[in-house]
């Protein structure tokens, strides 16, 4: 194996091995210090490994294999930066947590799985990595062990396992069109348009991955799970873990083959999600929940872009969707860390924190001359000037409004004592570095992804395009702040509350089925069934030719 191959494999392998090493007490004791270094191989792999490299780790019939293309590398690099920053933050914030050992194990496993999904090449490894990142993330969101966290964890697990069941069904159908037991993803997807079960596979894939991305109405777990975790965990959950759904759609949808009806369905779901996330986010009272709903909204944007690519059969849009998603990784990660920073700041000293957080939020909305504006410009390419493109552009105004709401809530959350106006270096430094990277990095990636010169992004027409929605949003925010109607207080997870009303009904149904158990376990009943079974078997076999 070449150095590049080893580096690529090390990206998920190193954190996984570190998680195993945590079984030993000495390693577990220093585990918080390992969180940031564990993600470094991933960053190096994203930077140094040549594109379109293919690494076969285990030959057929296993075919455990890795592959790094441009979308994968962009997401891997963005995720690695956030993992390192959040890991550094966690090393400080968790220093006194008595249960940090267990937290670090979940962290490392989630990290390993999240890198895995971006770079594996075969279907079985993808499912393994996807299950790892999804299930290990439960440990992060359930860490605080409050009643709220337990409920969030239950909802998350139930929906995740449901999604896994849909995906395994899709993958099995996908793989049975291929001569190998464990085909490469691209080979299997190349066969997909010919599959007799094409429609069923596409539906299962979209629902399975859409659930991970939080497309409405499968978003209900996200505001719950992302708001109960410790701050650095929320940052990676909302920033990175949801991207497993994005890479899933990018890898498994036949983007190169125009599939208009499914593309349209995904776009519509995406646009509905983009606006729904904003609307519900505005009703929230906790900054983390606002951010979680903003993630729902942003994933709607990504889904719309992917849906647009599917309509046109434009596989080049994958890199652009990945670019937009990577921009969201960094910004959302930095915004979540800001919640922790603001909470630990004194009310009098919080203004600089709010300023930076506001800038990050406006970048998410596409404020000109920030990285986010480039992400917004990039997706204009594949979206074109149609209705979808217009609605997406307009959603940036909503995002601005939502971020204004976030900053206001952040201001009210400052509870630090005046003696320590700002949190320690260990928390501040990773946040500031991450924020700067989030605002600046898209400038280096934009020409690479879109093939356009950076200067084009600064052309007046483009500045106007991104500035208008932001200004509109700011004006709206100001107006609403001055004399807005009182917004309803919607519980996190919105429609989930309705679904939970069905809980007692379900319990009663289960109890009814349970009574069958008591009947079947009567000796007389079982004896009769045994006799009936003899007759049924005899009749069936007698009827055989």
């Amino acid at each position: 194996m070449t150095f590049a191959a080893i580096l690529l494999v090390a990206a998920p392998a190193v954190p996984f091995l570190l998680a195993l090493a945590c079984a030993g007490r000495p390693v577990r004791r220093i585990a918080p210090l390992l969180l940031a270094p564990a993600a470094v191989p991933g960053l190096l792999a994203a930077l140094l490994v040549p594109r379109d490299i293919f690494v076969l780790v285990a030959p057929a019939p296993f075919r455990i294999s890795f592959f790094l293309d441009v979308p994968g590398a962009i997401l891997l690099g963005g995720a690695a930066l956030l993992w390192i920053a959040a890991g550094t933050y966690a090393a400080t914030s968790l220093a006194k947590d008595p249960r940090r050992g267990g937290f670090c194990v979940w962290w490392l496993l989630t990290l390993s799985g999240s890198f895995g999904v971006f770079i594996v090449a075969d279907v079985a490894s993808f499912y393994l990595a996807f299950a790892l990142v999804s299930l290990a993330a439960f440990g992060l969101s359930a860490h605080d062990d409050t009643a709220e966290a337990r409920r969030a964890g239950m909802v998350y697990l139930a929906l995740t396992l449901f999604g896994e069941a849909l995906l395994i069904a899709a993958f099995v159908m996908l793989a049975s069109g291929s001569p190998q037991a464990n085909p490469l993803i691209r080979d299997a997807v190349a066969q997909l348009p010919l599959s007799p079960w094409r429609e069923a596979i596409l539906l299962l894939l979209m629902v399975g991955f859409g659930l991970k991305m939080g497309l409405v109405p499968l978003h209900v777990w996200m505001p719950l799970a992302h708001s109960v975790a410790p701050v650095p965990a929320s940052a990676v959950l909302s920033g990175i873990v949801v991207k497993a759904g994005v890479i899933g759609l990018l890898r498994f949808l036949p983007l190169g083959v125009a599939t208009p009806h499914w593309g349209l369905a995904l776009s519509v779901a995406g646009i509905v999600t983009a606006y729904y996330g904003i609307a519900l986010g505005l009703t929230q009272k906790h900054p983390k929940r606002v951010l979680a709903y903003s993630t729902v909204s942003q994933m709607g944007v990504v889904a719309t872009v992917i849906g647009g690519a599917l309509v046109q059969g434009d596989s080049a849009a994958a890199a652009i969707a990945a670019f937009y998603a990577a921009n969201h990784i960094l910004l959302k990660g930095a915004l979540f860390l800001a919640v922790g920073i603001a909470a630990a700041s004194a009310p009098g000293a919080v203004t600089p924190v709010l300023t930076l957080a506001g800038l990050l939020g406006l970048s998410l909305a596409g404020l000109p001359f920030t990285g986010g504006a480039l992400a917004k410009l990039a997706i204009k390419g594949p979206m074109g000037e149609g209705a979808a493109g217009f609605l997406l552009a307009l959603s940036a105004a909503g995002t601005t409004l939502l971020m204004a709401k976030f900053v206001l809530l952040l201001r009210d959350s400052a509870k630090g004592r005046a003696a320590f106006p700002l949190p320690s270096q260990g928390l501040l430094a990773p946040w500031i570095v991450l924020s700067v990277l989030a605002l600046a990095l898209p400038f280096t990636l934009y020409p690479l992804v879109t093939g356009e010169r950076l200067a084009a992004a600064f052309a007046l027409v483009n500045v106007e395009k991104t500035a208008v929605p932001v200004l509109l949003g700011l004006a709206l925010a100001f107006a609403l702040h001055q004399r807005g109607p009182a917004l309803p207080d919607v519980p996190a997870g919105d429609v989930l509350v309705l679904a939970e009303r069905l809980g007692p009904l379900l319990a009663r149904g289960l109890a009814g089925v349970g009574r069958l158990d008591d009947v079947l376990r009567r000796f007389g009943v079982a004896g009769l069934l045994l006799a009936g079974l003899v007759i049924a078997l005899a009749v069936a076999v007698g009827a055989a030719p």
């Binding site: 499912y127 395994i168 037991a181 089925v513 349970g514 009567r522 069934l529 079974l533 003899v534 076999v541």
Partner: protein, 503 residues
């Protein structure tokens, strides 16, 4: 007859006899020993038995042909033939692993003051093993009857080792239902002997051609085996029996004992019946299997006791093995043994054996540590016995069919087969079964990881017993790295014939 005349026993065929006899040989000396010494003596026989099975499996794999032995040198129909093909060797291997692990789990650790297993446990353990091995190698319906009876009479007392009224009544129920099964089996065997004049399975297959007696016999014998296997809706005896036994015994009962009658159902329908007959019956077996997976899964969700939950899970999980029948039967004839469904079913069998044994052992450790197994009061148990909870979780991973685990690979194989044959209802049952398993496993696991509600003073449990459970659970996880393709080993010597037994 000329076919039989040309057959010779394999040179290493004596291994088949040894696999049955060696555990039995342990019974007599154990009787004379005190329980402390008997443990160590039993260990010697367990080791010897394991070595024999290892050599046997290795030999089958090496030669690619079944091992055969004729008792007293007389060939069927006069004598009794023993035969181990790939499937038999596989079952022998799984059984050996579980039995030896249960033996190690039940051992009193040096220096620990855990309750010592009574002498009877060790004798019954060896008896069960011998009976199981005979089921897997005998080719004669009467020898199989003897094996089944020995199995029942060794397994039933395992249920009521503690002699409490509750376990006694569970054991009695088990005994009665197993006897029903035996009666049906005996009726069928008698019908076959009266009609065809032989009890040898392979000769029967050659002589039988769909006569009414054959059909009636197959129906009777299959129903008898389903009663012994506790397939839905005949599972009434299983929960109380498997939950009442001591942990080591529960592990054996749930992991391997109920697999023996299932093995025989496979032999009836793939070695005696014609493919058309098998295809006609397969939907009924699969429907019962689906009922088991779904309904027993729901019942498991409602249990208040950990061991009962695991027992219901066993009743649910054996359903998967019956879902295999229509899938394997569709690739009729010799092809069935090369079908992916066949390997999937076998893999499910071994994954379930390992994970279920691990879970029962872990549940036993938990119950010993905190003094009860009420699920509602097991919150925070993960802090008290982390290794056992981890073993339980890994076993549960396999039951849920999540990667990496043998249960996952088995599920994928069965799903693949179901999809390829358009058997959508089977695919849906498999997926729903996985979700139900997740429900009942997480019902235990999630509270276990939470903060303890009340302080308990844990009773210390020997670390190595937890390690045995963990090793089994890790074995179930390691099976997740089995390649996703039909296993050649399972097809060795299939379809069964004495022809293939010649050296």
């Amino acid at each position: 007859m000329s076919l039989i005349a040309s057959v010779h026993a394999s040179p290493l065929g004596l291994l088949l006899v040894l696999a049955v006899i060696v555990p039995l040989c342990g019974l007599a000396p154990l009787l004379l020993l005190k329980s402390r010494v008997a443990e160590r003596a039993a260990l010697v026989f367990l080791a010897a038995g394991l070595a024999i099975v290892c050599v046997l499996c290795f030999e089958v794999a090496r030669s690619g042909a079944p091992l055969a032995y004729f008792l007293g040198g007389f060939k069927p129909p006069l004598g009794v033939g023993l035969r181990a093909d790939g499937f038999s060797a596989f079952m022998l291997g799984v059984t050996a692993v579980v039995i030896v692990s249960a033996g190690l789990f039940a051992m009193t650790a040096p220096g620990a003051d855990a309750p010592r297993m009574p002498l009877a446990f060790w004798m019954l353990l060896l008896g069960v093993w011998s009976a199981l091995n005979l089921v897997y190698v005998a080719d004669d319906l009467f020898a199989l009857y003897v094996a089944l009876e020995l199995l029942t009479f060794a397994a039933v007392p395992l249920v009521c080792l503690d002699g409490r009224a509750k376990t006694l009544s569970a054991a009695l129920q088990y005994l009665l239902f197993a006897l029903f099964g035996s009666v049906l089996y005996l009726l069928g065997a008698a019908l076959l002997y009266g009609t065809y004049g032989t009890l040898d399975i392979i000769l029967l297959a050659q002589r039988a051609h769909g006569e009414p007696a054959l059909l009636a016999a197959l129906a009777l014998m299959t129903a008898g085996m389903l009663a012994k296997a506790a397939l839905f809706p005949l599972y009434l005896w299983l929960p109380a029996a498997h939950a009442g036994a001591p942990a080591a015994a529960s592990a054996i009962l749930s992991a391997v004992v109920i697999k023996a009658p299932i093995f025989l159902v496979v032999r009836f329908w793939y070695d005696i019946a014609t493919p058309a007959q098998t295809a006609a019956v397969a939907p009924i077996l699969a429907a019962l299997g689906a009922g088991a997976v779904v309904l027993c899964g729901v019942f498991a969700l409602r249990q208040a006791r950990l061991k009962l939950l695991i027992a219901y899970s066993t009743a649910a999980q054996i359903g998967y093995l019956f879902l295999m029948f229509p899938l394997a039967a569709a690739s009729a004839g010799a092809g069935a043994w090369g079908a992916i469904a066949w390997t999937g079913g076998a893999l499910h069998l071994v994954s379930h054996a390992l994970s279920k044994a691990a879970m029962f052992m872990a549940a036993g450790v938990i119950a010993e540590t905190v003094g009860h197994d009420r699920i509602a009061q097991l919150s925070g148990i993960g802090r008290i016995v982390p290794i056992s909870v981890f073993a339980f979780g890994l076993g549960g991973l396999s039951l849920m069919g999540l990667p990496p685990s043998g249960g996952f690979v088995a599920k994928v194989m069965l799903l693949t087969s179901a999809v390829q044959q358009g058997a959508w209802w089977i695919a849906i049952v498999i997926l729903v079964g996985g979700l139900l398993a997740a429900g009942y496993v997480l019902r235990v696991l999630l509270p276990a990881l939470q903060r303890p509600v009340a302080e308990v003073v844990p009773v210390p449990v020997a670390r190595w017993r937890e390690m045995v459970a963990l090793a089994l659970a890790l074995g179930a996880v390691a099976l997740g790295f089995v390649p996703l393709q039909p296993a050649a080993f399972l097809a060795i010597g299939r379809p069964a014939s004495w022809e293939g037994a010649a050296p």
